[in-house]
Symmetry: C2
Subunit: 146 residues, 2 copies
């Protein structure tokens, strides 16, 4: 489940991560800075599970407990730094891109990636029912190997 494409934690990554935290006024602790750097240190959008991020942290030598990864992802989610994406009833995925955009879900590897932007377009969406408003439209394109 772990994403091998995490950048190593160089100065640039750490600086970016720290700025990211600052923008959301989240207190920059050591482990939050590590996780932030892993998440957005190379400027790429990323899709992670708690477990995956935990393993990534471990293998880049950062000392973060699994519970803290959970708490931190939850905290990042609350301040809008990441978005929770629901594609699998047993696992939570978090996306560093917080815009509403479509996803590919690879059924064989359980991997979540972005669908090419601009390639999904609605020609019609229903009116929200009485007394309700649309908070988000989730589009998940499930892929299987052919």
């Amino acid at each position: 489940m772990m994403d091998k494409s995490f950048a190593s934690l160089d100065d640039v990554a750490l600086k970016r991560g720290t700025a990211w935290l600052a923008r959301a006024q989240v207190r920059p602790t050591k482990q939050r800075m590590s996780l932030a750097a892993l998440l957005i240190g190379d400027g790429q959008d990323r899709h992670v599970t708690a477990e995956g991020l935990f393993l990534a942290a471990k293998s880049s030598g950062e000392a973060v407990s699994l519970a803290t990864v959970y708490n931190t992802l939850r905290a990042f989610c609350e301040v809008g730094l990441v978005n929770e994406i629901t594609v699998d009833a047993t696992r939570s995925y978090f996306d560093t891109c917080t815009e509403d955009h479509p996803h590919y879900f690879w059924e064989d590897t359980q991997e979540l990636t972005d669908a090419p932007s601009g390639e999904v377009e609605f020609s019609r969406l229903p009116e929200p029912p009485q007394g309700a408003e649309i908070s988000r439209v989730d589009v998940v394109i499930r892929l299987r190997k052919r």
Copy 2:
């Protein structure tokens, strides 16, 4: 979480449920017939969680254990009688309508309902990436009370 709109288990409901099982060549045991009747006995599409269906069974006086509800929903899913819908990372929802169609998810009550059919239309969908094919496109319109 329980859906109060379950029909009582009259003869019509039981007959319908039994036919539904027969169509999928599922062995009609007592509890499967009860659950089938609860699910499609009134001809309406329904969206349930295991817990919700369990409570519905209990309150209509049917003796079914929670484990059996889980196993049965799983079994119905495997033979295509119901579809699993993923809208919440902590719970599985099952839909008695097995066509690929959009859903409303009511964030405040955690309820899942059908979005009006025909009201969602894509004008563009991406080509599936090399070596993959689209197995399904899930559209979930998240609603919040205004």
